[in-house]
């Protein structure tokens, strides 16, 4: 793969921007992730934000919830473009793994991200 994958975080309010900031602070990697908020968007406007963020590059879309306008518009975008994978339930752990593993196809990166994100969810001792 000639160009590393781009990750696009699609969220309600300012979650996406906050996650991008956290990843940059922790890893020092800048530019691997692009934040999109659905704030003030109807479906057409959110689709346009996705188009501007992704362009024609392969990408993984990280969505906050497994439903709602962020997800429906991400899936709509993925259906219309090649090499786009969609992951729901974005968390910081999956993004930290993703930014270090972007030389693989989108579907594989998405599966890997889901595994990394799921491993971070646990009940710890009090």
């Amino acid at each position: 793969m000639s160009e590393p994958l781009r990750g696009v975080i699609v969220s309600h309010a300012a979650i996406a921007q906050a996650l991008v900031s956290a990843v940059t602070v922790i890893t020092g990697i800048d530019g691997a992730l692009v934040p999109i908020s659905n704030e003030g968007c109807d479906n057409d406007a959110l689709g346009e934000r996705l188009r501007q963020a992704v362009g024609e590059r392969p990408a993984v879309l990280f969505v906050d919830l497994p439903g709602g306008s962020c997800l429906t518009n991400s899936i709509r975008y993925a259906k219309q473009h090649a090499d786009i994978a969609v992951v729901t339930g974005v968390n910081l752990a999956m993004l930290l793994d993703f930014v270090f593993n972007r030389g693989i196809p989108p579907a594989e990166a998405a599966r890997r991200a889901v595994e990394a994100g799921a491993k971070a969810i646990r009940v710890t001792a009090a």
């Binding site: 109807d42 479906n43 406007a45 919830l65 306008s69 429906t72 709509r76």
Partner: protein, 157 residues
Amino acid sequence: MSIALFRIDDRLIHGQVVVGWGQPLDCTFIVLVDDEVRESDWEQDLYRMGVPPHIEIIFASVKEAAERLPGWEADARIGILLVPDIDTAVALVAKTDRVKRLNVGGIHHRAGRTERLRFVYLTDDERAKLRQLAAGGVDVTAQDVPTARAIPLGEFA
């Protein structure tokens, strides 16, 4: 009354509807009235993904919605009816006199619209159509979530 909310929302099924309204209303069915979505299997699949399994989604054209509205109102369950825009609301009201109140829940910015509320942007034509609905006896208010105040039409259009 089993249709507890008639709502205009250009995002259709999303968090504010399913969680914000759906939980306090104890809603167990959503009627999505949109002629285009009614004809698209994959768009319907997309919207089904956004609701928990205990909520049924019914996809209807405007014509079907007008015909089936008495049945939904007689349903023992509590439901929400959604339309994507003012034109669809006008078309529905033209076919049935059972829509007595209308919640403007989300009409977002696009070219030609001006901001009336944080979550309501309207063209002059859309404002006129909302006023026409009100003149016809429909109680039109704007309210994005149940905890907010229901804003009377006169304050935003």
